[in-house]
Symmetry: C2
């Protein structure tokens, strides 16, 4: 199974094209400006000194690197001199300030130079990984080699220290990411040593030679056990996703079955026991981590944006490694919901956490008592343009411009169609170049028309997990023999469904969610009687679809009930309320919190 790169795919119009335009016009510059404001860009000048403001933080390199990577994906599609100039200026500083031995890290050069490669938890190799990915992306977009060559030098230095000399303060990174970056570097350079190093970091992880942080138990960064022995997703969810992605990459390239099976187990554990309906993962703010199975609280859901993105990265690699529609189903679930909620409709502000319920007063509960006591952390009620730990915004900037990565793959004479976007793609299929045109306004409706030009072939189309029509499928894909030029029309429908959780998700018992195709809906206070938890949705009432240009996908309207209480002053009364009919409006989950700080609810109650 071979990946088709987004560079070979052109989005034409529709939902994701609109989002890409938002990112290339607004988000990319907005994030850059905030990085300028906060000193992240100037940090590359390496001129910070004690006493000056904006002291470089250990992960600033990665913030800017991810921004460069995202900007490169934009540049890969469309010339943008201003953007290119911004990147070139940073690359110039990197060249100027890279150490003679190839090492590059702002914090550990100008703040604690003597501690280079001594602290496993200080994100050094994580930063390196993102810099390598950025350099590859920029090279891919512009064919300018300078940044790539600088990062090859750095990678060679890391190889020397961690693999050849093994003289660092730790064996494997405390925050995984470099593994998948090294695989990318191997692919772009064909230099085996990068794959060797990636494999080394993965194989040594949790093993007898792995040096762990004293104060951690290894669970937080998946080094509690050798990776092939890991049965359950544990610890920091972003780290887990980056590690598992690297593991899947290595398993794909080496054919290591044990590693592949570990990947399969971990993917299933995440997606069948620890994933929100939105595709969000990592339910706990304590360690930004996975917890016990079925622990998916809605009000305090942590569900970091970067973890959702990481799950997309992992799932795509799993599809290549272990072809099955479940992987691209998860990608679809994430991109339309738990990932997209991260970004405001104007593209300027972001959620770090993506809660599934907001009750505004709850986050105020401990404000007055917080004298060193442990308060419950509630997610922010509105998006911000920047965070002190601002990993998510540039990660968003990486994903949306490269979203077409998730559309296709091929094997032999078969083109696999995984996601549905109005697009055209050029695919090298068994030696011949074919063009596949996808005409659709998905997910406004479920109609997809596919035309292959340049030869006959087999087209395997993922039948989405939410589809209620019957298709004959293998591993969840419907196979069609398609003639050159002959269009193939499919209609998945776009059903509106009430969803329930496995009963082990105790906090969701007797609660229901509404989905339209892949899109999860929510109630927001501005549209509905409050409190939202008081609403009973009438699941038997007709759900009306109402166009909404701002949100791109429609609102849904139906009937429901709200309690009418005669006594509104008592704290407790004998059951007295009667149900009063009310209109209920749902909006796509991703669009919440664009109209002020409000109550929000994904899992609601229904008239029994």
């Amino acid at each position: 199974m071979r990946h088709i790169d987004f560079k070979d795919v052109e989005l034409k119009s529709g939902f994701w094209k609109t989002k890409q335009e938002m990112v290339s016009k607004t988000t990319i510059y907005s994030v850059y400006s905030r990085f300028v404001d906060t000193g992240r860009i100037d940090a590359f000048k390496f001129d910070w000194q004690e006493g000056k403001e904006n002291k470089p933080h250990i992960f600033w390199d990665s913030d800017v690197a991810k921004w460069i990577e995202g900007a490169s994906y934009i540049l890969a599609k469309k010339k943008d001199k201003k953007l290119e100039k911004c990147i070139d200026a940073i690359v110039e500083q990197i060249e100027k300030n890279q150490c003679d031995d190839g090492y590059f890290n702002i914090y550990f050069t100008i703040v604690e130079p003597e501690m280079r490669f001594q602290f496993r938890h200080m994100h050094e190799l994580y930063c390196a990984g993102h810099l390598i990915e950025a350099a590859i992306a920029y090279y891919g977009a512009t064919k300018k080699r300078k940044f790539l060559d600088l990062m090859i030098r750095y990678a060679d230095y890391i190889y020397l220290r961690f693999y050849v000399k093994r003289d660092c303060g730790f064996t494997t990174p405390g925050h995984e990411e470099i593994e998948l970056a090294l695989v990318k570097l191997y692919k772009v350079t064909n230099d085996e040593k990068y794959l060797t190093l990636a494999k080394y970091f993965i194989d040594e992880r949790g093993g007898p030679n792995d040096i762990k942080e004293e104060k951690y138990d290894g669970v937080c960064n998946q080094s509690h056990l050798p990776v092939v022995e890991q049965e359950e997703a544990v610890g920091h969810s972003v780290r887990a996703m980056y590690l598992y992605s690297g593991m899947a990459d290595v398993a794909y390239l080496t054919g290591d079955e044990e590693l592949k099976n570990a990947c399969k187990r971990l993917f299933d554990d995440v997606t069948t026991k620890k994933m929100y309906i939105t595709g969000g993962i990592g339910s706990s703010g304590c360690g930004e981590a996975f917890t016990v199975p079925y622990d998916l609280p809605n009000l305090v859901s942590y569900t970091e944006t970067c973890a959702a993105i990481g799950l997309v990265l992992f799932a795509r690699r799993m599809m290549l490694l272990d072809f099955d529609s479940k992987y691209e189903d998860v990608i679809e679930r994430v991109i339309y919901n738990g990932f997209l909620s991260s970004t405001s409709l104007d593209g300027k502000s972001f959620f770090y956490e993506n809660p599934l319920e907001i009750i505004p007063y709850l986050s105020e509960r401990d404000n007055k008592n917080n004298n060193g006591w442990r308060s419950i952390h509630f997610p922010a009620k509105s998006r911000s343009e920047i965070f002190s730990c601002s990993c998510c915004p540039p990660n968003i900037v990486r994903l949306i411009p490269s979203i077409a990565n998730y559309l296709y793959s091929c094997e032999g004479d078969t083109i696999f169609v995984h996601q549905f976007m109005h697009s055209s793609a050029t695919i090298d299929l068994n030696g011949k170049t074919v063009k596949i045109l996808q005409k659709t306004s998905y997910p406004n409706n479920g109609k997809v028309e596919l035309t292959v030009e340049g030869g006959d072939c087999t087209v395997a189309v993922r039948v989405p997990f939410w589809c209620e029509k019957t298709f004959e499928t293998k591993k969840g894909y419907a196979y069609y023999q398609v003639k050159d030029g002959g269009p193939l029309s499919i209609d998945f429908g776009m059903p509106i469904s009430f969803i329930e959780s496995n009963r082990r998700v105790i906090l969701n018992c007797r609660k229901y969610a509404l989905m339209r195709g892949p899109v999860v809906y929510c109630l927001e206070g501005i549209d509905n009687p409050k409190p939202l938890r008081d609403i009973l949705v009438d699941t038997k009432s007709r759900v009306r679809v109402e166009k909404d240009d701002l949100m791109l996908l429609p609102k849904l309207k139906c009937k429901g009930y709200i309690r009418k209480m005669n006594d509104d002053s008592s704290l407790y009364v004998k059951k007295q309320s009667i149900d009063e009919k009310t209109d209920i409006t749902f909006i796509p989950y991703y669009a919440f919190a664009n109209r002020g700080e409000e109550e929000m609810l994904v899992w609601f109650q229904t008239k029994q």
Copy 2:
């Protein structure tokens, strides 16, 4: 309005008599043994030295003092030589180790003697208050004056330092309690200076001369504002209750209307916006504190046992100050529910926190990720015999033996009947001594027969808040002219009611609780299909009452529904479950967690 002391009331049989026997036979000795084990008793020898185990803690004096007070209430009713000997031994140590100037505190004598009266937050005056209360109780029970005289010396020293010299490191106590103790001391000695000091501590609190802890903002211990300006209950809930009790005492004795009005406002704020259906208060573990109005989460309800006890103390004082049935209604709500849940049915183990819902797996959620991150604190799932901060067990030991304090008061020729227990009481009414006999098996049923012997009088009987019958009342009390020897029979019924919360309590929206008379019921996993949140109770089904000897009050049984799901493996499925009929068993809330660690639920869903 004059209080009738428990010493003048004799419980004959029934619910509280049984609980009193449990405390006098089991609890009082069990708590003592744990205090011996942990060094709390030996600490009174003042021989701890650096390097030895069981270093005295700043609040150990108060733990033992409360135990002495409780033991004294038992002794007041029945000779118990063993108990008296234990107390005498402690008193002997107190006499031996009291400083020459009258000061008595274990920690600040043997650990940090140079810091006497320097740290406002170190519970020094809190310990003093409890020692004073204990001494008064022991004197009341035995007429032995030694302990009382020692504590009078200490009180005089406190008066000298805090009121005359004003040379301490703070003005008012960081943990209130001494205010109400000083009022008690004034009553027993008739020495005005103790009332003066109590009033001084209350008047100065939050004022311009009040010296606060640097790291606190005054909210946590109610010194953010002068007490008469306080509109809302804030901060540490136990401290609040002790302060408000002292305020009510002073207002009662001085006739200070401004202070009385503050007490009324604060009581109403607590009981109409911040009180669980169980009478539990202080919903947040962050600061053991009150939070914003209507924030009453069930899973993480802190609801400390001592706070419930404090609310009883406050409410009783308010009844004397501002006669209204709402005060004794709150007492009834607390004693049968959020207070009584604290103690196991065998009387040996205790809850510090009294949650309204338990989902066992949730408390495990962050166990593996707790690397210095902030995890959510969940209440314990089972009771303990001792805590490192063991304020609650001896507080329970104070309340149950003196529960008859809450039965009666009188004014002119009227006897007020506030609570219902099978008992006889001797009351000095307008110069003549009358005896009031109360015959009842309340709250097994709602029948109460009252007989007054020794003269005609007016009897005013509280009509409980849950009563569904119509009585002619003033301030919630029904008035009867009773002839000498003529029995008065009342039947309140004992209705079973489904209760709903004010809709502002968002977490309880569309949830219902079951009460039988004053007793709140709950579902426990051992009796019912799980998860409990999956149950829909059929509120239209007949609720059967089933006797239970262990729990003393009956179980309640009715019909309900559980989801039947065909797909039990998927995390999310299209709504498919159908309701299956099931039997539902409720037990009195106070009896939960006596049969293992289990799911528990007070607020359930119902068939709509």
